[in-house]
């Protein structure tokens, strides 16, 4: 299993860099994960997305659909890609410490 190191600590990640155990997530880890997804600084807008994703995941056990994410956080899809250039699934969900969304080819 691969591991991801930040500030002298290490967490287990899968081959796509998603953390394996959602419970080890913290804001410091989020900042470090954001960096590898092309986010240089976590602004309030970045955190708003992350907190929404985490709340939704805690409640329902899955990631929300993209349209719902845009609507509920009042963030157009274009803006989400500005915040997280690798997109809501690969970027934002990874930073929020959600398990890898199961996509379709």
């Amino acid at each position: 299993m691969a591991s991801f190191e930040y500030n002298g600590k290490a967490v287990d990640v899968d081959e796509d860099g998603f953390i394996e155990d959602p419970s080890v997530w913290n804001e410091e880890l989020a900042k470090a994960l954001a960096e590898i997804e092309g986010v240089t600084e976590m602004s309030d807008d970045h955190w708003k997305i992350v907190h929404y994703l985490r709340d939704y995941y805690k409640q329902f056990g899955i990631a929300p659909m993209v349209r719902k994410l845009c609507k509920e956080t009042d963030t157009p899809l274009k803006r989400i890609y500005e915040l997280y250039p690798s997109g809501p699934a690969k970027g934002a969900c990874k930073v929020a410490g959600l398990p890898k969304p199961t996509g379709c080819v």
Partner: protein, 400 residues
């Protein structure tokens, strides 16, 4: 020194006169360790009757949410060169027209960054580049875009639209499939690259009812060329076919599904009752010099096909019987309707529910009402078999 795999099962697939993907992988394996390990893993899969790819990963390039499909081997220690084997979809040109220079360029790019193996073309329509590693994704994307190419769709987005060769090569094209496929691709770039739909959404453009892109079986929106008026008949050519030995009665008239043709064997004359013609193209295909589609040409818009993945297969059924889609105003109206339908589907559709399944769930009547289209008798799943009948007025009277 590259490993050499014994591949008796794969070798069977090289026999016979037809093309063989095994032959191609072996050729690529001479240059690429990745293709070589692919042979090893595939032979093992054939022996065990078990696939060795993990369920899809999430990889991509910056700015895009689709276009790359993550693929990992579950035997990375045994076949290290295919531990990553990501697929890249590259948007094909309308109708798959390439210059040889363009093909050389993309093949060079792919030999530099990937296995060198391509699938020209996948059933999606895209060029499919098979096998690369995560650290090559940004560089290959950069090289492709600098050469004028772009990635295609994947995941829950608008998939890369595709079309038949249309008026570029084919006399039956009833509208400009190449142009409209390009227009839709360019107009909906966000929808193509940034997945935000409940599930995939496919457009396929076929120039005539022969439907060479099989749009009726695969596309959520099938745009199929058709004509309104009568099949054009060249009486002299009919006689020539008869003189040359074509059995017009048995091979043309009796095969007409609508039984709307008559043949006078003495005069060697064909007559067609056009109001019953089902636009099946059979007679035109058999006698292309004698019969041609009519002159009032356009397209039929059908909705809802899908291959069986989550639910069973569906064929598209008619939404708009006739649209002069070459006309700019009618094309704009078509786009407005598309956006309206996507809005309704995105708002009410479940995760991983194709629009055809969505229509089945909510009912065609409710769907039409939501998108603002009047129900008409042409909207049938099985023509001449099950007309939709709307009893709305009747029910409303009863309720009161």
């Amino acid at each position: 020194m590259p490993k050499e795999y014994k591949t008796p099962k794969l070798d069977e697939l090289e026999k016979g006169p037809w093309p063989s993907f095994v032959k191609e992988i072996k050729l690529a394996a001479k240059k690429s360790e990745m293709s070589n390990d692919l042979l090893g893993q595939l032979e093992q899969s054939y022996n065990e009757k078990l696939g060795h790819w993990k369920h899809g990963g999430i990889v991509g390039v910056m700015g895009y949410g689709g276009g790359v499909i993550g693929r990992y081997s579950d035997l990375p220690d045994k076949y290290p060169s295919v531990s990553h084997f990501h697929t890249i979809r590259v948007n094909q040109p309308s109708g798959w027209f390439y210059t040889s220079d363009a093909l050389r360029t993309i093949c060079d790019i792919w030999e530099k960054h990937g296995s060198g193996l391509t699938n020209m073309h996948g059933s999606t329509g895209d060029m499919v580049f098979l096998g690369t590693t995560t650290d090559h994704l940004e560089p290959v994307f950069k090289d492709l875009t600098e050469a004028g190419w772009d990635l295609g769709g994947s995941g829950s987005d608008m998939r890369t639209p595709s079309c038949c060769v249309g008026p570029g090569r084919c006399e039956w094209a009833c509208y400009d499939t190449l142009q409209r496929c390009y227009d839709i691709t360019m107009r909906y770039q966000d929808e193509l690259h940034r997945p935000a739909f409940p599930y995939k959404w496919k457009f396929k453009f076929a120039g005539c009812p022969n439907d060479c892109v099989a749009s009726i079986a695969r596309a959520d929106i099938s745009v199929i060329g058709t004509w309104k008026d009568d099949i054009r008949v060249d009486a002299d050519q009919v006689k020539t076919y008869a003189d040359e030995g074509l059995d017009i009665f048995n091979d043309v008239v009796l095969n007409c599904p609508a039984k709307c043709m008559r043949y006078d064997g003495e005069k060697k004359e064909i007559s067609i009752d056009n109001k019953d013609c089902r636009r099946c193209m059979h007679c035109i295909n058999v006698m292309p010099k004698a019969l041609r589609p009519g002159v009032e040409q356009g397209a039929t818009i059908l909705i809802g096909a899908k291959a069986p993945i989550v639910e069973g297969a569906l064929l598209s059924s008619v939404l708009i019987p006739f649209l002069d889609i070459d006309d700019e105003e009618e094309f704009e109206a078509f786009c407005d309707l598309i956006e309206e339908m996507q809005d309704v589907w995105c708002e009410e559709g479940k995760n991983r529910e194709r629009v055809g399944e969505f229509i089945q769930r909510v009912g065609m009547g409710n769907f039409l009402e939501a998108v603002g289209v009047e129900p008409i008798p042409e909207m049938v799943a099985y023509p001449r078999d099950n007309p939709y009948v709307f009893y709305e007025d009747f029910y409303e009277d009863e309720d009161e």
